[in-house]
Symmetry: C2
Subunit: 257 residues, 2 copies
C-alpha cells in the first residue's frame, strides 16, 4: 500500500519544503519509488530539485482543474532515478478561488493521483504555509501527515491549531489520516530556546516526535540555490545524514496514531 505523506504546518519557514525535497530524495536513493507533489504556489520544491519552471507546459494546476492527466504533468529528476515530481508554478495561486463553487473541490488532488498512486512506494506532498483549500486537498489525498516543527518560540504556538484542523479533516473528509510524526528542525545547540522547544514537544507529544533532529546547517540552506537536494550537494554534511536518518525512521513505519 502506497504511503502518501503530507508535509504540513501553517507556520511559515519551518522547513516544510526542505523536508519534502530531502526526504523524497533520500527515499529514492534507498530505492523506494517516490513521487513528490509540489502543492505550494511558491513552487520552492520544484526549484529546489533543479526543475526549470519556465520550460514546463503543464503543472499541478492544470491537473487539479482537470485540464491535464497526471502522466502529462509528471517529470523526472536528473541523477535521481526513483524520484518523479508533479511540479508547480505560480498559476497554482488561482486554484482556491476558481474551485470555490466546485462540489468536489476538496478531492481534486486525490482524484488526480489515483491512477498512478499504486506505482509508487511513497508520495510526499509539500504544502503552503496556510490552511487553505490546497492544504485541505493534500490532507484529503494523504494517509498520514508529517509536521516539521522549527525549534523556535512562535512555531510551538501554532501546533495546537494544526492538530485541531487535522481532527476536522479526519472527521469530514479522510478518516484514515494519521500523524506520522513531528520532526524537530533548525535545532541550534547554541541556544536554550532549541532545547526548551524540543523538551516541550517531547513532553506533549511523546513518541510522536521523530528520533531524528535536523540541526540548523548552512549547507542545507545553500543547496536549493544549486537546484539540488543536500544529498547530492554535500552528501557528507550533517543535513544530509539527518534526512537519510529520517528516511530510515519513516521506512521503519514507526508507531503512528
Amino acid at each position: 500500500m502506497t504511503k502518501i505523506i503530507c508535509i504540513v504546518n501553517q507556520k511559515g519557514g519551518v522547513g516544510k519544503t526542505t523536508t519534502s525535497v530531502n526526504l523524497s530524495a533520500a527515499l529514492a536513493i534507498y530505492e523506494k519509488k517516490t513521487l513528490l507533489v509540489d502543492c505550494d504556489p511558491q513552487a520552492n520544491a520544484t526549484t529546489g530539485l533543479g526543475i526549470e519552471k519556465n520550460n514546463l507546459d503543464l503543472t499541478l494546476y492544470h491537473g487539479l482543474i482537470g485540464q491535464a492527466g497526471v502522466d502529462e504533468i509528471m517529470v523526472g529528476v536528473s541523477k535521481i532515478e526513483n524520484l518523479n515530481v508533479l511540479p508547480s508554478r505560480v498559476e497554482l495561486i488561482g486554484f482556491d478561488i476558481e474551485m470555490i463553487k466546485h462540489p468536489d473541490r476538496e478531492t481534486a488532488l486525490k482524484r488526480l493521483i489515483k491512477p498512478v498512486a499504486s506505482y509508487f512506494d511513497y508520495i510526499i506532498i509539500d504544502c503552503p504555509p496556510s490552511l487553505s483549500l490546497l492544504t485541505v486537498n493534500a490532507m484529503t489525498a494523504a494517509n498520514s501527515i508529517l509536521i516539521p516543527l522549527q525549534c523556535e518560540f512562535y512555531a510551538l504556538e501554532g501546533l495546537s491549531q494544526l492538530l485541531k484542523t487535522v481532527d476536522r479533516i479526519r472527521h469530514a473528509l479522510n478518516n484514515s489520516l494519521e500523524i506520522k510524526g513531528i520532526l524537530l528542525t533548525m535545532f541550534d545547540k547554541r541556544t536554550n530556546l532549541s532545547y526548551q522547544v524540543a523538551e516541550d514537544a517531547k513532553g506533549h507529544f511523546n513518541d510522536l516526535v521523530f528520533q531524528t533532529i535536523v540541526p540548523r546547517s548552512i549547507r542545507l540552506s545553500e543547496s536549493p540555490s544549486f537546484g539540488k537536494p543536500i544529498l547530492l550537494y554535500d552528501a557528507a554534511s550533517v543535513g544530509s545524514k539527518s534526512y537519510f536518518a529520517l528516511a530510515r525512521e519513516v521506512m521503519k513505519d514507526r508507531k503512528s496514531s
Copy 2:
C-alpha cells in the same frame, strides 16, 4: 497624515512578525503614537507583545465582521506608552470564508480603523504568509508596504510574485499604495548566500532596499518567549539597534515609489 504600513511577504518565516513588533515598539519609544494591527490568525504579534489571548473578549475578527467597534477591541501594551494593539486570536481564520459573499469584503479593515486612524502617527499591519483576503484587506487599508526579505535563496524567488500582486491591488483597490522599502533580515555574515541575496536585491531594487540590515541574532528569536519586543528584552543587543535604526529610516520617510 497617518502612515499606514503593511508588513507583507507570502514567503513564510521571513521576519514579518518580528519586524512588525519591533518596528512598532521602536516608533512608540521615539514618541510616535503607534497602532499595531495583528492581521494573522497565528496571532504571533499579539503574543510577542505579551498580550494574553485567552483573557480577551474581543479581537480583530469581531471588528472585521462588524460585531465590535475598533475602540472596543484596542488594548495597550505594558511599559510602552505610545503603543496600542488590535490583537488577534485563532478565530480570525474564519474571516476569509465567512466574508466570501460580502460585497465590501476587501475594505473591512480600512473601514474598521477609519474612526481612529488620524489619532495615530503610524499604523503597522502584520500579515499572514499568504496572499489571502486578510492580506488584501491589509494592502487596501495601507498607504505603503514594507517587505521583509530573508537572506536565503527561496525568499528571493517569491519577490516578483509579490510585486505583481501589489500592482494588481494598486489598480483595483488602492491606487495610492507605495512600496516603503525592502528590509533584509536574518543576514548571516558567515555565509556567502547572505551576501549574494543582499547583492541581488540591491541590484534589482536599488534604493528601495533599506540601509538597515537586520542580522541573524539569537536574542531576537528569544524575546517573543518573554512576551517582549527586543527593545525591552535586551536593549543593547544588535537586534534592538537594528530596529531602532529601521524606525529612524522609516521616520525620515525615505524616497518611496
